[in-house]
Symmetry: C2
Subunit: 182 residues, 2 copies
């Protein structure tokens, strides 16, 4: 992977996470990198190819970060908190929502290959969370709870950035872990 290719993916991920797939053009990306749009086509023939490469890189990085954070976690709840921390870091480190959160919202307007990868990302999220719930919860409720956690994280990113109150993300995720008063 060349340096230009990487800068290209960075700029594209950036733009999409801020404004959406359809708001990002090859020319804007080229301008940002100081190259021509035809050079962008050299790396990715179609926009769809760029999108797919983007989600692939994002997914890999995401789960690598989750695993790294979960390594030092002892309990299941700590693993779960590590997972949420990956989301938090993606937001507070960049002021941008999740790449797949944006693309997931735009699903119907995306090339099928791209929408499929986003779907896979979410399914992998739910599977990972479900696994972390093992000890806490009866099996039949795990899937719903996992989906709830994913939805809350995604929604929290969206609402927090829209309201430009990033602390809101922490408040929301905090409420998610609140223990019922004994």
């Amino acid at each position: 992977m060349s340096a230009t290719n990487e800068r290209l993916l960075d700029a594209a991920e950036n733009g999409i996470r801020l404004s959406g797939y359809h708001a990002v053009s090859f020319r804007d990306l080229a301008d940002e990198l100081g190259i021509k749009s035809s050079s962008v086509h050299y790396y990715y023939r179609q926009k769809e190819d760029l999108g797919v490469a983007l989600v692939d890189r994002y997914s890999k990085r995401f789960f690598a970060d989750v695993e790294k954070r979960a390594e030092t976690a002892g309990t299941d709840e700590e693993r779960l908190r590590a997972f949420c921390q990956t989301y938090r870091n993606a937001l507070t480190g960049s002021d941008r929502i999740c790449l797949c959160g944006m693309l997931g919202a735009e699903t119907c307007g995306l090339p099928k290959a791209l929408a499929d990868r986003v779907e896979a990302f979410f399914n992998a999220n739910i599977a990972w969370i479900s696994d972390a719930l093992n000890a806490d919860m009866p099996a039949d409720k795990r899937a719903a709870r996992a989906a709830q956690i994913l939805a809350t994280l995604q929604g929290a990113m969206m609402v927090a950035t829209s309201l430009k109150k990033h602390r809101l993300f922490d408040d929301i995720v905090g409420a998610l872990f609140e223990k019922p008063k004994s």
Copy 2:
């Protein structure tokens, strides 16, 4: 409000909720209505004006529906469930996420006037939910819980449509109301 104007808003809301603001063009809307794009400009001079009118109509309808459902609610929890039902109905009746959920994700790429209205919609949501939490919860935790409920609803719509599993929305919102086992 003329019939054409209303069909125009319907088509625009439709398209944006499915694919996003930047994926919807005046020409597409015109074609869907069987008119010319210049006629669309007659109703809304700029795309931004159309977007603003759209969010205004959506907000009005949304809170009218919430109030109507909440009318017959006795307890605070019933009021909250009525609120969630408005979201659910928006999704299951159309397979589309919330207009402001989509626009909220795209915030950075939107004209400021539009982004501001979306922000106002979310703030009104949080205020309404906070109010419904009155009896249940100490005042200092209400805001966080209200934001959490909003985020969960928005995230649930997004994830459920992306995964094309609409039942997931019900599962997620169900888990939100789950009582801790006594």
